[in-house]
């Protein structure tokens, strides 16, 4: 099966001499849900800008479903839907007009454009707002409007640049559900995000970019497998004694009813439960202290700094 996206030795040097991309290579398979992570200024948006023609590359090759953008960019663009980081629509236009016009730019006949616009505005909960000026929409609604606009020509590859930035939790969850649904229906999705739990919850593969270089490119599962240490927070039913110890584990009492336990790779957390049970300590719930991916991300990025 041909890949959805192939990037080979892609580099970008801006006019002021800043080298934003230093010959990166990436491959995203069809149907994948792919996360492109990295700190601010790492080169994520430059990469996306090149793929969708808003940034001119300095060197390298980009193919979308095997169509080289240097040979037939128009054909490649038909495969791509882009949801940028910043709002990039005329805020005085109505959502329905924005989506219908975008369909027109892809050569879609008016009737079909209207049907599709209705389909996606309904799916994203914006149909009731179709006739209001877009500037009146909330931040979350504006982001969903950009998703509807990106989907109206039914692209095979959807690229979202920080789609849930500044969106409340409920809205973020509903956006996740929507993205999972269209991914399950066959759309390949590439996502950049600063929320690492978002990448962990949604994506199957990941690339981490830092200072214009790919420092990690693997599956989320593989990445998590490489974690050497996890910290779990245990909520206890009864008040804890002043000092709690479990042989072989680092345990810290963070308050009267909460313990933090470090579990190294190769250790089993069952041992902790057995030992605490023996000491008469009952656990009501357990969670990770920090996002697991976040720890790996910080290690990779700081390691390359």
């Amino acid at each position: 099966m041909i890949p959805a996206l192939t990037i080979e030795n892609l580099s970008k040097v801006y006019g002021d001499g800043f080298e934003a991309l230093k010959g990166i290579s990436l491959r995203v398979e069809q149907g994948d849900f792919f996360a492109l992570l990295g700190p601010n200024g790492a080169g994520k948006s430059t990469t996306i800008g090149i793929i969708c023609s808003l940034v001119a590359k300095t060197a390298g090759r980009v193919c979308v479903f095997d169509v080289d953008i240097d040979r037939d960019f128009a054909a490649a663009k038909k495969y791509i839907g882009i949801v940028p980081q910043e709002f990039n629509f005329n805020q005085f236009e109505k959502p329905l007009d924005i989506v219908v016009n975008q369909a027109g730019y892809y050569g879609m006949p008016a009737e079909l454009a209207r049907q599709r616009a209705e389909q996606y505005l309904r799916a994203l909960g914006l149909w009731d707002k179709r006739e209001v000026q877009s500037r009146m929409l909330s931040g979350g609604m504006k982001r969903r409007l950009m998703i509807a606009r990106a989907l109206v020509h039914e692209p095979r590859l959807l690229i979202l640049d920080e789609p849930t930035a500044g969106v409340d939790i409920e809205m973020r969850r509903s956006m996740w559900d929507f993205l999972r649904k269209i991914n399950a229906e066959g759309t390949t999705i590439i996502l950049t995000t600063h929320y690492l739990e978002e990448a962990e919850a949604l994506c199957r593969h990941i690339a981490i970019i830092n200072h214009g270089e790919i420092v990690e490119h693997s599956s989320i599962r593989e990445l998590l497998r490489r974690l050497n240490r996890e910290v779990f927070i245990l909520d206890c039913v009864e008040a804890l004694p002043d000092s709690v110890a479990v042989a072989g584990f680092k345990v810290r009492r963070s308050d009267a009813n909460t313990l933090e336990v470090e579990v190294e790779k190769g250790q089993f957390i069952n041992q902790v439960f057995v030992e605490l049970e023996r000491q008469g300590i009952h656990i009501s719930s357990m969670r990770n202290r920090a996002n697991r991916l976040e720890e790996m991300f910080v290690n990779l990025v700081e390691g390359g700094a």
Partner: protein, 257 residues
């Protein structure tokens, strides 16, 4: 994109442009009607009656073609410059840039949007002028060709201005300090015969001279410059402006990083 798809994209841009200037008609259409009415009253009726004949016509008859052309020039220019710069300013131009719409379709969409506004205002100004004088059109064909070529040329000029503009100041500097003086010195209000030879020669570098005179010939049948030269110069300027606009779009100047 197939030709049919390109036509849909083109019409989408044109419709969007027309809707835009009709939605804000008090800013786009009304000012020209009011300004031109004032010109007709002041230069045509009040001052014109004391000037006497110009080129064998009453002063009012003489200035009307120039004033109609002035409205076409300013409106086709300002429609494209404000609309395209606005889409650059709010980044909505990216909607077009990420789409497969070819660059020439993008350009022609905006240009035709500007042409329609120029025509719209021309009709309004012509109707207003009929309250002040009677117009006998010498050649409808020459009038139509001049209007189309002129509005195309100045819509393209507006596009070039919009591409280079970084702020709203930049889109008013050219109309104020370049376009308006060229219009006033382009023979709208006087015949070139009144100028000393040196300044008449200098005036021939002004594209507005050819535009105004070609249109005046179409309406009145008189012109300070030969018609083939006028059409040749307008055509030359138009081809140059189109080629440069396409170069800007293809190179992504000020549009792509």
């Amino acid at each position: 994109m197939t030709l049919a798809e390109q036509y849909i994209a083109f019409m989408t841009i044109v419709r969007k442009e027309i809707r835009r200037y009709l939605r804000i008609w008090t800013q786009t259409l009304l000012p020209s009607a009011i300004t031109m009415s004032l010109y007709f009253v002041i230069f045509g009726s009040l001052i014109g009656s004391r000037i006497g004949d110009m080129g064998g016509f009453t002063y009012m008859q003489f200035v009307v073609p120039g004033l109609i052309m002035m409205a076409i020039v300013t409106n086709s220019y300002s429609n494209v410059v404000s609309s395209f710069f606005g889409s650059k300013f709010n980044n909505s131009v990216e909607e077009l840039l990420v789409s497969p719409t070819p660059n020439y379709v993008i350009l022609m969409g905006y240009v035709v949007g500007g042409i329609t506004r120029g025509l719209f205002v021309a009709v309004v100004v012509t109707l207003v002028s009929l309250f002040f004088t009677r117009l006998h059109v010498h050649s409808y064909v020459i009038v139509a060709v001049t209007v189309l070529m002129t509005s195309t040329l100045f819509a393209l000029a507006g596009f070039i201005n919009a591409v280079y503009a970084n702020s709203f100041d930049d889109i008013s500097i050219i109309p104020t300090f370049v376009l308006t003086p060229l219009i006033y010195l382009g023979g709208v209000f006087y015949s070139m015969d009144l100028l000393p030879d040196f300044w008449a020669g200098v005036s021939r570098l002004n594209p507005l001279v050819y535009v105004v005179n070609a249109f005046r010939y179409g309406v009145l049948g008189v012109s300070d410059v030969s018609l083939p030269l006028a059409f040749g110069m307008i055509g030359l300027f138009t081809v140059a402006a189109f080629s440069f606009s396409m170069h800007l779009l293809n190179s992504g100047t000020r549009l792509r990083q």
